[in-house]
Amino acid sequence: MNSINKIPVIEEKRTNPLARVFDEFVRFCRSRSLFILHYCTGCGAIELPPAMTSRFDMERLGIQPMVSPRQADILLITGYVSIKTLKRVILTYEQMGSPKYVIGICSCTVNGGMYWQSYATAKKLDEYMPVDLYIAGCMPRPEAVLAGLQKLMDRIHSGEANSWEDYFRNYDYYLGNQQKLFGENWQTPTDIITEAKHYDLIGEGTLGKHTQILEQHQKPLEALDMRLGHDLKEPTE
């Protein structure tokens, strides 16, 4: 499988010196206030409470947990993602507001870890969404988690943590991998292509043969089915 060639994109510096000071300030604030999405996808989540609570205290770095994907900046993939979870993770990722960052914690997100033989877990997280940072280990200690988060803070501050733009620029690649795993009729409720146009982030890899497949079967966007059993009938019109 050929991997995409990732071009590090650094935000353009504006010419107006005042604007540059402002941008610098905004980047600093972004790096100092990180909201983590409260989603435990796997076993690494067990080391997050220690990192969050009294002993290691994430809040002194300005990091705090948030509940809904809309509020959060960081998606922590804590360990292996089963295929069922991966669907939810992608939905969640697409609903988060940009700029957003993904951290893969634990070895399983890197290459499947000790579940390399398992039919139920996805192996390489960065095939399905752009990952800013991996924290390897099984499982990484809270110190390692905090060190990783600090590294992310540095990268945000210097403007290097732009992998979320990568998702728009190379959407075809990510969608292709998702379709390979979930079937060709895979569709998320978020319209990524429109969003990419909105941000002016259409790149060479945004549209391709996989997005064509998507457009063929794309239905008008509807809420995900949340029904219980079969007792609820379609309304008669």
């Binding site: 890197v110 290459n111 039919y119 996805a122 192996k123 390489k124 095939e127 795993l181």
Partner: protein, 189 residues
């Protein structure tokens, strides 16, 4: 206590035909029963001997015999002993009776075995998928399902092959084990 218990249990089990009882230790009894006699056995155990706790239902796929083995582990809070009732059913069509009306925990285990092995339990309240709701392959726990082949077909894993390792290998070193010497992970036997 255990002498007395043996005696009493043996008397009870004599009422069922074709049963073979083997006492493995003071608290473990193995009973092999014909498939059609199991509900009667469980009813006896539950009603007359106080084996009211169904600890688990396990399924073993004996592909060479073309049979599934179902094991019902029941525990008695009174006599502190566990009876494992083994039955064998044909692999095709793989249908058996539910014991949900005797033991409610059976609902979960039967559902689990249904999705993992494809055995259908008649009379079970809920045979919907629970864990593998988004899985459309064959029941994965069957022996003929090759998990590794499935993974190779559908997923990529990262080969760890950094430049420094390649250099080492080029010089004749490294940690690579030739395929014929790999005994555990990839071995097919």
């Amino acid at each position: 206590m255990s002498q007395e218990l043996t005696h009493w249990l043996d008397d009870l089990l004599e009422e069922i035909e074709g049963i073979k009882v083997r006492r493995k230790s003071s608290r473990r009894v193995r009973a092999d029963v014909p498939a059609d006699a199991l509900p009667a056995l469980l009813e006896l155990l539950q009603g007359r001997a106080g084996y009211i706790h169904l600890s688990a239902i396990s399924c073993v796929d004996w592909i060479e015999d073309d049979e599934f083995e179902l094991v019902y582990h029941v525990w008695s809070y009174e006599s502190h002993s566990l009876v494992s009732a083994h039955i064998r059913i044909a692999r095709e069509p793989g249908v058996y009776l539910s014991v949900y009306d005797l033991y409610q925990p059976a609902g979960f285990f039967e559902r689990d075995i249904h999705e993992m092995y494809g055995i259908h339990f008649e009379g079970s309240p809920n045979m919907e998928k629970f864990i593998l709701t988004e899985w459309d392959g064959p029941p994965p726990m069957r022996k003929e399902f090759d998990s590794e082949a499935y993974v190779n077909e559908h997923l990529n894993w990262q080969e760890y092959n950094p430049p420094w390792l390649q250099e080492l290998i080029a010089e004749g070193g490294g940690v690579i084990i030739p395929p014929e010497e790999q005994r555990f992970s990839r071995k097919k036997d």
